[in-house]
């Protein structure tokens, strides 16, 4: 798994490539533990995320809780259909805004 972060206007974009499972999710968990100063929106770009398990969902929910508690919006974009299905079945799709791709997300959030 590879994690990269960059900023576009007020949006902090975190891209995750590869698999988010019990062995890799602690890395994202540590990465999302602190919200960068001055950011108002956190966007998780999962376009190159090929797999997610409940361990990955756990980290996403934790990050969403932290953001909410800090008055920051957390959104997700770019889910491939098999990963989107896991978000749907877990009820996360109604909990966290999901955008089809980064451009659509930035058009709404930036």
């Amino acid at each position: 798994m590879q994690i990269d972060r960059f900023v576009e206007k007020n949006v902090v974009i975190t891209t995750v490539k590869g698999r988010l499972d019990s062995s890799t999710s602690p890395k994202l968990d540590a990465f999302m533990a602190a919200i960068p100063d001055g950011s108002s929106v956190l966007l998780l770009d999962f376009a190159e995320l090929t797999y997610i398990s409940s361990a990955g969902l756990r980290v996403v929910l934790k990050a969403a809780k932290l953001a909410k508690g800090s008055g920051v919006v957390l959104a997700i974009c770019g889910l491939i259909p098999p990963v989107h299905e896991v978000f749907d079945v877990s009820g996360f799709s109604t909990l966290i805004p999901i955008h089809p791709n980064r451009d659509a997300a930035l058009a709404t959030l930036a």
Binding site: L57, R58, A64, E85, V86, V89, L95
Partner: protein
Amino acid sequence: MIIDRIDFRLANDLAELEPLVRALDCFGEAVALPPKTAHRLTLAIDEFVNNAVDYGYPDHRQGEITVSIRHRVEHLEIVIADDGDAFDPLTAPAPDLSGSIEERRIGGLGVHLVRTLATSFAYRREDGRNVVTLALALDA
């Protein structure tokens, strides 16, 4: 050649998962599984092997987990068995999916995901083993 069955025998150690996942990816490509079916297959095995390793052997004894996959005409049949402590996933409480971000509890989703994505799901305790049998649709 059509691969119609694949079997794995694992120690109760999470380090076993990485080569297993690679083998599942190869299997999925070899039999041209639809993307959703391939993801569900890895998810089912990942979740149940993780649960067995994390909770089935509280005394840290050595254990054995077996996974077998049968490629049928209309579905994949998966049997996951472990010799850990008895655990019936059908008695696991269903997570509350309706709460707000603040209300949602972290964790407890693995069994729910697999049960929901499988077309059939069964559990039995047999000869000191937990045996979970499930089917995944091939037309996902």
